[in-house]
């Protein structure tokens, strides 16, 4: 295989990874790492490096739009970034010591968990009262919804904070955005409205990924020959995905289809991890 062909295959695969990641809301990293390792037999360290760079590109691109609309809660995001960056830094350092086969197994497990969570019915919370701690940190806010301004409060700050350390750790260890875990921390623990939690999670993903990318780049995980087609492909795919979402909301069977594909990929990663092929 020549470099041109290799680049073309990764570019095409990354485009679909970005598209699928955007449609499912799971992010491109979930597909890109299995594609590179299982299909193209790229070493997992390079795959993780390429994935984290594509995560920064897609989250920054999307966050730029959300922030301007005034939905993202910047204070909440900045506060929780303390947790996610500590986690990401720890995870990136741990990645050096954890054997690649273990990383593949953990990756599969997180992938299955996220696929299940993407299928659950989403319950929107709006808390009007908030704890003293949340009040002192000015975590509550408002967001525009169909011409109206909706205000909300935040609860269980400490619990959400610890969950965010874990989300950051997984992000740094596996090279993914771990947006699903961030949304759980904000939706289920801190009781933040869905619209705010998804956009604020996206806002935080870029900074979280940057905290581990600065470690990866010095360790030689970020190889220009692989990152170039991955980041361009994923970004273009995510752009296409965001256009589709505007036109049609993903129906039930489509979500099941995506979840099934992702579960199959997850089992492949776990199997190859146990077999020592990764």
């Amino acid at each position: 295989m020549t470099v041109i062909l290799f680049t073309a295959i990764i570019l095409l695969g990354s485009y679909f990874a970005g598209l699928l990641g955007s449609l499912t809301g799971l992010g491109g990293g979930f597909i890109i790492i299995p594609l590179l390792t299982l299909v193209l037999h790229v070493d997992i360290h390079y795959a993780i490096g390429a994935s984290i760079v594509s995560v920064i590109a897609t989250s920054s691109g999307a966050a730029a739009a959300y922030v301007k609309e005034g939905i993202t809660n910047i204070r909440l995001g900045m506060f929780l970034e303390i947790a996610t960056t500590i986690g990401a830094f720890t995870g990136a350092v741990l990645a050096v010591y954890v054997p690649p086969s273990y990383i593949a197994i953990i990756f599969g497990a997180i992938l299955i968990t996220s696929a299940i969570m993407s299928l659950r019915e989403k319950v929107d919370h709006i808390v009007t009262r908030q704890t003293n701690f949340a009040k002192r940190l000015k975590l509550g806010g408002t967001f525009p919804d169909q011409g109206k301004t909706i205000s909300y409060g935040v609860t269980h700050v400490a619990g959400g904070f610890f969950m965010m350390i874990f989300a950051g750790l997984i992000s740094g260890l596996l090279g993914i955005g771990s947006g699903a875990l961030k949304v759980v921390a904000m939706d289920n623990v801190m009781r933040i409205p869905f619209k705010v939690s998804t956009t604020t999670s996206n806002f935080m993903i870029g900074v979280t990924a940057a905290a581990s990318a600065v470690v990866y780049i010095q360790r030689g995980y970020i190889h220009p020959g692989i990152v170039m087609p991955v980041v361009v492909g994923v970004l273009l795919g995510a752009l296409s995905g965001s256009k589709i979402l505007v036109q049609s909301t993903s129906s039930g069977w489509l979500r099941w289809l995506f979840a099934s594909i992702i579960t199959i990929i997850a089992f492949q990663m776990i199997y190859n991890g146990f077999a020592g092929k990764i």
Binding site: T7, V53, S60, I74, M78, A211
Partner: protein, 132 residues
């Protein structure tokens, strides 16, 4: 914007538009640089055989800032791609630096401090990156 409280609205809205601008600009600039480097890289090395099956770090000439700088000057594709990647990684970090300044301007000391803590964690990550 009507959705903000009047007392703090103006500056928070300002901050939102600048952050949006930083993120969008960073992505556009970095992707342009990556694509330019990619075209040069494929032009020169397109017909060689890729070898990423075993982890062997990255080519020596792009493993230091000086090396990347020299490579960019000499128009080497991989060095230019790496520069683009560094600009992309710097984008969210720049957004945190801006948040420190913006919260300080809003006289929100608590959040200027919180943003500063995030910045220090990233710096610590950067400085200890080679260890281990």
């Amino acid at each position: 914007m009507a959705l903000q409280e009047k007392s703090k609205g103006f500056k928070d809205a300002d901050m939102q538009s600048v952050i949006g601008w930083i993120l969008r600009g960073g992505v556009i600039v970095s992707m342009t640089v990556v694509v330019i480097g990619g075209v040069l890289f494929l032009w020169h090395h397109g017909h060689s055989t890729p070898d990423f099956g075993t982890f062997n770090k990255i080519p020596y000439f792009i493993s230091s800032p000086e090396g990347i700088f020299a490579g960019v000057i000499h128009g080497r594709g991989q060095a230019i791609i790496q520069l683009g990647i560094i600009i992309l990684i710097a984008t969210p970090i720049l957004r945190v630096i801006f948040a420190v300044i913006a919260f300080a301007l809003e006289k929100d000391r608590l959040y200027a401090l919180i943003s500063l803590i995030v910045l220090f964690i990233i710096l610590a990550s950067m400085l200890t990156g080679r260890i281990g």
